[in-house]
C-alpha cells in the first residue's frame, strides 16, 4: 500500500516538476527580455534540483544528493554572473 502511495506521489511530483521545468523553458525561449530568460534558467535549475531529490526518494538512494546539493549551493552562480553582465556589461570588474 505504502509503495503504491509513494509511487503515485513520486510520479505525480516528478511530472509536475517536469511541467514546471517545461514552463520555465518556454519562458527562456520567449523572453521577451534577457532578464526573463535568466530567471527562467534559475527556475529551471531549482526545479531540476527538486526533481533530483524526488528521484532520490523514488529510488531510495541518497547517492543523488550531491548533484542536488551542488545545484543548491552553486547553481545560483551562473545566474549571478548573467545578472551582473546585464547590469554592468562585464562579469568581473
Amino acid at each position: 500500500m505504502s509503495t503504491i502511495i509513494l509511487f503515485t506521489a513520486v510520479s505525480l511530483a516528478q511530472f509536475m516538476l517536469a511541467g514546471a521545468m517545461a514552463l520555465a523553458a518556454i519562458r527562456m525561449f520567449c523572453g521577451p527580455r534577457a532578464q526573463d530568460r535568466i530567471i527562467g534558467l534559475d527556475s529551471l535549475y531549482i526545479n531540476a534540483m527538486l526533481l533530483l531529490v524526488t528521484f532520490g526518494i523514488g529510488t531510495g538512494r541518497v547517492i543523488y544528493f550531491e548533484a542536488a546539493l551542488v545545484i543548491g549551493m552553486l547553481g545560483f552562480i551562473s545566474t549571478v554572473a548573467l545578472a551582473k553582465f546585464l547590469m554592468r556589461g562585464e562579469v568581473i570588474e
Binding site: 517536469a18 547517492i63 548533484a67 552553486l74 554572473a81 548573467l82 570588474e93
Partner: protein
C-alpha cells in the same frame, strides 16, 4: 695496391678536393684552389692511366660495397675500356680547363667556390662513367645536373646566368627523374640493377612488354642531357656560364653523358625499330637544326653551343642505326668532338677576355692582335668542319659511310645521306664563319676593350695541346688513338666488334664525295650569307622569333604556377566553414558508408516503455537545443542561457541513468563555462538583430545544404546511437572493474577507481591537457588587445557612472557598490561553505560520487564567486591565488605518486591501498590513489583559476590601456595648445 681500389680513389678524389676548396674561406685566394684542383685531376689522371694495362688486357676493374642491398642498390664501380677512355677524357680535359680557368677567372670572382663546384662536377661525371649499378649511375646523373646548375649560375648576379642555370636544371633534372623511372623499369625487367646483368640481358629486355615505356623514359633522360631536339634549347642558354665551364661541361663532359649512356646501353637496348625511330629521329633533326641554327648565331659561344648540339645529334644518329660500325664511329666522334670543341670554347673565351665581346658583328680582324690564338682556332674549326688531316674529318667520314649504308627500310634511312651532307655543309659554313668573322677583315673598331693581345702562355697552352691532339689523331689515327679506341669499342660491343680501319685515305668513295660536296657547299653558303650575317639579328631567319627559352618559360609559368594556383584555389580553401563542412561530411561518410554498403539493419525495435518524466525532460532539452541553435546568431546571451538549460538536462539525464559522478562534474563544468563565456562576451562586437542581411539565393542554398548536412548527421547519430545502445556487450572489460574495484582498488565508486587507479594514466594525461590549456589561455591573453569598439567601458557602466558623477552626493562607483551591497555579503559568506563542500567532495570520491576533479572545480568556483562579488582588485587584495604553483604542485604530486610505486619495484601508478588504524578515529581507508587525486585536485584548481583570472584581468588591463591612451592624447593636446 689493388688496382680495383684505384676506382674508389679516382671517384673520391674530386669530391675531397671539392670539399677542400670549399673550405678555403679566403675568397680572394687564387692559387691554392687551382693547385688543389690541378693536383686532384693530375693524380686521378695518373691513376687511371696506370690502370690502362689491365684494361687493355680486357680486364674489368670492379669495386663494390653494399649501400641499400635490400633493393639492389650497391655502391658498385666498374671500369672497362669505354669507361676508361671517358675517365681519361674527363680528367685530361678537366686538367686543361683548370689550367685555363686559372687565367680566365677575374680577380673579383670567388675562385674557391668555382673550383669546388668544378671538382664536384668532375667527380659526378666520373661517377656516371664508372657506375656499375644503374641506380648509382642515375645518382651521379642527377648530381651532374645539380653541379652544372651551380656552375652555370656561378655569376648569379646576372639574370641570364640564373635563368639559364634554372632551365638547365629543370630540363636535365626532369630528364634525370625520367631516367630513374626508366632504370627502375629496366631493373624490373632484368631483376637487377647491376650493369653487367643489364648489359647481358639485351634479348630479354627487347622482348619485354615494358620495353617501350622503359626505352622512352631512358631516352628522355639521355636526350635531355645531350641537348637533343626538342630539348636542345637549354644548352645555348647555359652559355651564360663562365667559358671554362662551357668548355668542360658543354663540349667534353656533361652533354656527352647522354650519348655516353646511349652507347653504354647500346648492346642492351638498341636494335629495335623503336630505338631506331626514336633515337634516329631525334638525332637527325638535331643534327640538321643544330647546324642550321649555328650558322645564324652572333654570339661566338652561341655558335659553338649550336654546333655542339648538332655534333651530338650526329653521334645520336650514329647510335640509332644499330650497326656496330656506326657505334664505333659514334664513340670515335665523341672523343674527337671533345678535343676540338673544348679548344674552340677556350679560344672563344680568350677572344671574349681580350676584346670584351663575343658578338661576331663587332669582332673583326683579330688575327693581327691574336695571331697564335687565331691559328689554333683555325685548326680546331677546320677539324670541326671535317677538313682532312684533322681528327674531325675521320669520324665524319665514318659517319658519311654509315649514312650511305642501309639499315632499316624507312624514309629516314633514305634521307640520311642527304641530311648528313647538308648538315656537313652547314657545319663547314659556320666553321668558316667562326674564323672569318673574327680573325679576318678590317680591324675592329667597336670593341669594348681596346688593344687586345695574346693571353699569357699558360692560358693558351690547353688550346695548343688539344689542337696538337687533333692533328696527331687526324694524321696518325691508327698509332695514336687506335688502340685506345679499340679497347673502348670492344668493351661496348664485345663480340659484335666489327673490323674497321682508322686510315685517312680510303680511296675515292661516296663519303669522300659527300665530304667534298659539304666543303664546297659550306663555303658557298657562307659566301652567300656573309653579308646578311654581318648585320642580322641573333638567330636564324623565320625561326628567330621562336625562342625555345621563352616558350619554355611561358609553359613553365603557366603550368607550374597559373594553373597550379587556379587548381589550388579550386581544390582548397582558406576559410573555416568549407573545411568544417568537409570534416563533418567525411566523418558522416566514414561512419555510415560501411553500414550502408553492407546493408546493416538495426535490431527490431521493441517499445519497452519509457519513463514519462525522462521523456518530458528531453522534450524540454530538445526544445532548448533547438532554441539555442536558433538564437545563437543575434541573441548571444539568450543562446548562452538556453545552452545552460541543455547542459542541465544532460546532467539530469546522467542522474537518471545512474551516473551521479557525471552529473556533478557536468554541473560544475556548466557553471564555470557559463561564467567563462560571459567573460568573453564582453569583447565581442554588438549585434544588431534589426539588420537582417539580404539573403542571396546562393546564401540560401548554402544554408539549405548546411541544414541538410546537419540533419543527416543528426539522423545518422541517432541511428548509430540507437543501434549500439540496444546491443549490450557480453564480455566487456567493465566486468573486471566491477568485480575488482572494491577488492583490489579499495573503492566502491567504480568510476572513480577507474579514474584514479585502473586507468589513472588517462587522468594524468587529462590534467596535463587542462594544464597546458590554462597556460595557453594565459599566454594568449597576455598579448590580448581588444578591438577598437570594445575598448570603451560597457554602455551600462557609462550610464551608471554618469549618474554617479552628476549627483553631488554620490561618488564614482556608488551604483555598483549599492548593487552588490546585499548580494556580496551573502556571496562572501558562502565562501567557507563552498570550501567545505570542496573538501567533502574530494574526500568521498573513492567511495561515493566526487573526486579530485569535481572538488577542484568547486574550490575554483568558490574563488570565482569572490571575484564576482567584490571585483578583481578586491578579491586579489584578499586572496592571492598563485595558480601556477597549484598547477605545478598538482602535476608533480600526481606524477610523484605514480613514481612512488617504483620504490617497491612496481610499475608506474601501481596503487597501494590499506586501512590505517588512527587513534580515536579508528580504521581509515588510505589509498595512494587519494594522493594522486590530490594532484588532480590541485591542478584543476590552479588551471581553472588561471583561466578565469586571466580573462577577468582583461577588464583591468583595458582600463590601464585606456588610461594610458587618454593621458597620451591629453599630452598631445596640451602640446598642441602650447604650440599655439
Amino acid at each position: 695496391m689493388d688496382q680495383n681500389v684505384w676506382l674508389v680513389v679516382l671517384l673520391l678524389l674530386p669530391f675531397l678536393g671539392s670539399f677542400a676548396a670549399a673550405f678555403i674561406l679566403n675568397t680572394t685566394s687564387r692559387n691554392l684552389p687551382v693547385v688543389i684542383s690541378a693536383a686532384v685531376a693530375a693524380v686521378a689522371l695518373g691513376a687511371s692511366i696506370s690502370c690502362y694495362p689491365a684494361i687493355a688486357g680486357g680486364e674489368i676493374l670492379r669495386y663494390q660495397f653494399a649501400w641499400l642491398p635490400q633493393f639492389g642498390l650497391n655502391f658498385s664501380l666498374r671500369m672497362d675500356g669505354f669507361a676508361w677512355i671517358f675517365t681519361v677524357l674527363i680528367l685530361s680535359i678537366g686538367l686543361l680547363v683548370i689550367l685555363y680557368a686559372r687565367y680566365y677567372m677575374s680577380d673579383e670572382d670567388p675562385i674557391p667556390r668555382f673550383f669546388s663546384f668544378l671538382l664536384a662536377f668532375m667527380g659526378a661525371m666520373l661517377g656516371i662513367v664508372l657506375s656499375g649499378n644503374i641506380i648509382l649511375l642515375s645518382v651521379f646523373w642527377e648530381l651532374t645536373s645539380i653541379f652544372s646548375f651551380l656552375l652555370i649560375s656561378y655569376w648569379h648576379g646576372n639574370a641570364n646566368a640564373r635563368d639559364g642555370a634554372r632551365m638547365a636544371l629543370t630540363i636535365t633534372g626532369i630528364g634525370g627523374f625520367c631516367l630513374l623511372i626508366g632504370f627502375l623499369l629496366l631493373g624490373n625487367i632484368v631483376g637487377s640493377y647491376d650493369l653487367d646483368k643489364v648489359l647481358a640481358s639485351g634479348d630479354m629486355i627487347r622482348a619485354h612488354p615494358l620495353y617501350l615505356p622503359m626505352l622512352v623514359f631512358i631516352l628522355l633522360g639521355a636526350l635531355t642531357k645531350s641537348a637533343q631536339f626538342p630539348f636542345h634549347f637549354w644548352l645555348p642558354n647555359a652559355m651564360a656560364a663562365p667559358t671554362p665551364v662551357s668548355a668542360f661541361l658543354h663540349s667534353a663532359t656533361m652533354v656527352k653523358a647522354g650519348v655516353f649512356l646511349l652507347a653504354r646501353f647500346w648492346p642492351a637496348l638498341s636494335g629495335t625499330y623503336e630505338w631506331f625511330l626514336l633515337v634516329g629521329l631525334a638525332g637527325m633533326l638535331t643534327l640538321l637544326l643544330g647546324a642550321y641554327f649555328a650558322m645564324f648565331q652572333q654570339d661566338l659561344k652561341g655558335l659553338l653551343a649550336y654546333s655542339t648540339i648538332s655534333h651530338l645529334g650526329l653521334i645520336t644518329t650514329l647510335l640509332s642505326l644499330g650497326s656496330p660500325l656506326a657505334t664505333v664511329a659514334a664513340i670515335f666522334h665523341m672523343l674527337n668532338h671533345a678535343t676540338f670543341k673544348a679548344s674552340l670554347f677556350m679560344a672563344a673565351g680568350i677572344i671574349d677576355h681580350e676584346t670584351g665581346t663575343r658578338d661576331m658583328r663587332k669582332l673583326s680582324g683579330l688575327i693581327r692582335c691574336l695571331p697564335i690564338t687565331g691559328t689554333l682556332a683555325m685548326v680546331a674549326s677546320a677539324s670541326m668542319a671535317g677538313v682532312p688531316l684533322l681528327n674531325g674529318f675521320l669520324s665524319k667520314e665514318m659517319f658519311f659511310a654509315e649514312a650511305v649504308e642501309t639499315h632499316e627500310n624507312s624514309i629516314f634511312d633514305t634521307m640520311l645521306p642527304y641530311v648528313a651532307t647538308l648538315a656537313g655543309a652547314f657545319s663547314v659554313a659556320y666553321s668558316i664563319r667562326f674564323i672569318h668573322a673574327v680573325f679576318f677583315g678590317p680591324k675592329a673598331t667597336q670593341l669594348p676593350k681596346k688593344e687586345p693581345h695574346e693571353p699569357p702562355h699558360w692560358m693558351r697552352f690547353p688550346i695548343e695541346f688539344l689542337v696538337l691532339v687533333c692533328l696527331v689523331v687526324g694524321i696518325f689515327p691508327a698509332y695514336s688513338i687506335g688502340p685506345f679506341l679499340q679497347t673502348a669499342v670492344t668493351s661496348v660491343l664485345d663480340k659484335q666488334t666489327p673490323d674497321y680501319s682508322l686510315a685517312i685515305w680510303h680511296g675515292v668513295n661516296t663519303p669522300l664525295i659527300m665530304s667534298l660536296i659539304a666543303l664546297v657547299g659550306g663555303a658557298t653558303i657562307y659566301a652567300l650569307l656573309k653579308g646578311y650575317l654581318a648585320s642580322c639579328d641573333d638567330g636564324p631567319p623565320i625561326l628567330r622569333g621562336l625562342k625555345g627559352q621563352r616558350v619554355f618559360e611561358r609553359v613553365l609559368v603557366t603550368v607550374s604556377w597559373r594553373w597550379a594556383r587556379f587548381a589550388e584555389q579550386r581544390l582548397g580553401t582558406r576559410n573555416l566553414q568549407p573545411q568544417l563542412r568537409w570534416v563533418v561530411f567525411t566523418g558522416l561518410i566514414a561512419g555510415l558508408l560501411p553500414l550502408y554498403l553492407s546493408g546493416f539493419e538495426v535490431r527490431p525495435f521493441v517499445w519497452k516503455g519509457a519513463d514519462p518524466a525522462f521523456a518530458a525532460l528531453w522534450v524540454i532539452g530538445i526544445g532548448l537545443a533547438l532554441g539555442t541553435a536558433y538564437l545563437a546568431k543575434y541573441h548571444r546571451l539568450a543562446a548562452l542561457v538556453m545552452l545552460g538549460g541543455v547542459g542541465l538536462i544532460v546532467c539530469t539525464t546522467f542522474v537518471w541513468l545512474s551516473a551521479p559522478d557525471l552529473a556533478v562534474t557536468q554541473l560544475l563544468v556548466e557553471i564555470v563555462t557559463t561564467v567563462l563565456i560571459l567573460l568573453g562576451l564582453r569583447w565581442l562586437p554588438k549585434r544588431n538583430p534589426e539588420i537582417e542581411e539580404h539573403l542571396s539565393l546562393r546564401a540560401r542554398a548554402r544554408r539549405l545544404r548546411d541544414l541538410l548536412l546537419a540533419i543527416t548527421c543528426g539522423v545518422g547519430m541517432s541511428f548509430v546511437a540507437f543501434a549500439v545502445m540496444t546491443m549490450p556487450v557480453p564480455d566487456a572489460i567493465a566486468n573486471y572493474f566491477l568485480d575488482n574495484a572494491y577488492s583490489m582498488g579499495g573503492g566502491r565508486n567504480v568510476v572513480n577507481v577507474i579514474l584514479v587507479d585502473f586507468r589513472g594514466f588517462d587522468t594524468l594525461g587529462e590534467i596535463a591537457v587542462l594544464g597546458v590549456v590554462a597556460l595557453t589561455v594565459y599566454a594568449l591573453l597576455r598579448r590580448f588587445r581588444p578591438a577598437a569598439d570594445s575598448m570603451d567601458l560597457p554602455e551600462q557602466q557609462q550610464i551608471q557612472n554618469r549618474f554617479d558623477a552628476e549627483r553631488s552626493d554620490r561618488d564614482l562607483g556608488d551604483t555598483v557598490r549599492e548593487y552588490l551591497l546585499v548580494p556580496s555579503v551573502i556571496m562572501q559568506w558562502m565562501f567557507p561553505f563552498i570550501i567545505t563542500l570542496a573538501v567533502y567532495i574530494f574526500m568521498r570520491g573513492h567511495d561515493l560520487p566526487g573526486g579530485g576533479f569535481s572538488a577542484g572545480l568547486t574550490l575554483s568556483i568558490a574563488f570565482l564567486l569572490q571575484y564576482l562579488a567584490g571585483g578583481t582588485r578586491w578579491a586579489e587584495d584578499r586572496i592571492r591565488i598563485q595558480p601556477l604553483r597549484w598547477m605545478g604542485g598538482g602535476l608533480l604530486i600526481a606524477s610523484a605518486t605514480g613514481m612512488g610505486a617504483w620504490a617497491f619495484g612496481y610499475p608506474f601508478l601501481t596503487s597501494h591501498f590499506q586501512y590505517l588504524e588512527v587513534p580515536f578515529i579508528g580504521k581509515v581507508p588510505a589509498a595512494s590513489a587519494l594522493l594522486f587525486d590530490l594532484g588532480v585536485f590541485l591542478l584543476v584548481v590552479g588551471s581553472t583559476a588561471l583561466i578565469l583570472v586571466a580573462l577577468a584581468h582583461q577588464s583591468i588591463r583595458i582600463n590601464r590601456l585606456r588610461a594610458i591612451e587618454l593621458s597620451k592624447s591629453e599630452a598631445a593636446q596640451e602640446e598642441a595648445t602650447a604650440w599655439k
